[in-house]
Amino acid sequence: MSYSEFLGMGAELSLMAVIILLFIYDTFTSSKVGKYLPITAILLLGIQTLYLAFGNSLGLGGLNDDTSLFGGMYVSTNISNVAKIILNIGTILVFTQAASWVKEDDMKIRRGEYYVLTLITLLGMYFMMSAQNFLLFFIGLETASLPMTALVAIEKYKENSYEAAAKYLFFAVFSSALMLLGLSYIYGATGTLYYTGIASELTVTPLTIVAIVLFLAGMGFKLSLVPFHLWTADVYQGAPTVVTSYLSVISKGAAAYALMVALTTAFGSGSEVWFNVLYIVIALTITIGNLFAIRQQNIKRFLAFSSVSQAGYIMLGVMSYENGFGDASLLYYVLVYIFSNIAAFAVAGAIERASGKLNINDYDGLYKTNPKLSVAMMLAMFSLAGIPPFAGFFSKFFIFYSAIETGTIPMYVLVFIALLNTIISLYYYLLVVKAMFLKDNETPIATIKSDGYTKAVVFVTALGIILLGLVSCVYDYIYNAAI
């Protein structure tokens, strides 16, 4: 092995550079200069995103298509690069949302930790998505989920925060252990941990069936698929809102993409096993996530169950990987989901910071006092529900289209179940809209003066929700990278 192979990992190295720069900046600057940390973090990550997007065409190096390093352990392709760009965009939005939160008194001394830990989880997700070996996959997964625990617990004097952190940690480790047990049986049966090696050695035996199911169960916890979703509501509610929005979009998107790569590459020859399991899990996830979301009063719990059911839609893309649309529509869905969900969390977070209110009932009459926030929230709800012409409609359309393309009767049934569930979801998404626009309230939440960062993130996400669907070059870009 030559050490120059490290230089092939352009995306990871540049992100590591960002982390180190931010760490140095936070550690060695006075508190006067330190207050520019949020904008520095956003700018540095923005530059790194530009490098990922255009570094190749500018000839900057390190981002060659189909880079295969360390004996095939790490493989970077065009599509994984696009996935990283999408996650970066989401992280930039979350950082913008976080800027006003880290200015608060008890967060001031911890803001450096917030940015560095978030970026380290992002680094773990990079490795997880580029992994072609289960060792690297596992390391990436844990690098993503252990700092995440610290982030959930970052408001350490608030009861909800540490309660959520304990629950998240125990569930995360439990699911990792399940996944590892599955992987150990895979290793025993095939003698290798490389995806390609497993693909050629794997035969469907009782042992490998158990192994694949255990692996799926472990990943199902990370993606909060039913029946492994029980931690979601509590953790989403207890974590600081900024962390919740990161957790609900970025880690979910990364885990979905990495799971798709692992299932299609490594377990491609055992696809009849995981196909059936995933089929039932998706149908359950979409339905149960929806049914529980109806009952929720707390907006964060509500969004948690909504994200459970959205995870089911995301996984539909995995089911249709064979026809070549699957990965593109999955990533497009994740991109649109990032914008919609961050818009919802940004509005909820702004209201929470200003008034401390988190119940949907408190939103009654919000339009009268905060028209802009209400419209942004409405756009987010419409997009999550999939109403045309907003982006959510197109992402659902592509996901359903790619699933229908497979052309088998069971897939038609599954898409039909998913369609029925979009109608159910319309009901509860519109409950929020109804509360804001139609219900009268004697004492609505007072007009909120939000700072520039919050305005920026609400504006950008609202714009994204309107434009991402209509501007077709976005989907073209993803699709061209996928083929």
């Binding site: 596992f138 252990l146 940690l169 125990f170 252990a177 590892l180």
Partner: protein, 106 residues
């Protein structure tokens, strides 16, 4: 060879018992430290699995041992974070019973 396989089965049985003892402890215990110990039991059972498979099934390459080493390191990191969170909980509410973490049930 047969003799070898029998030895492997014994190891696998031990690690299986360890793993599911861990699962039982995870579900049944109420003390968060006990839950943490149960999780360690599960992770270590998996480590044994990897090492045993490497030793008896695929002795030519060392992938399983390497996986074990990395898994041990990651388990240590996980324990460190878990202990930090448990200490934080103890400071705040003066006990570490998992039952007392029920403030978010509406």
């Amino acid at each position: 060879m047969d003799n070898n396989l029998t030895t492997m089965y014994i190891y696998l049985a031990i690690s299986g018992i360890m793993f599911f003892a861990g699962v039982y402890g995870f579900i049944a215990r109420r003390n968060m430290l006990a839950i943490l110990i149960s999780l360690e039991l599960m992770l270590n059972a998996v480590d044994i699995n990897f090492a045993v498979f490497n030793r008896y099934m695929h002795p030519t390459v060392l992938e399983g041992y390497f996986f074990t080493l990395f898994a041990i390191a990651i388990a240590a990191a996980e324990t460190a974070i878990a202990i930090a969170i448990i200490i934080n909980i103890y400071r705040n509410i003066k006990n570490i019973k998992s039952d007392s973490l029920d403030k978010m049930k509406n």
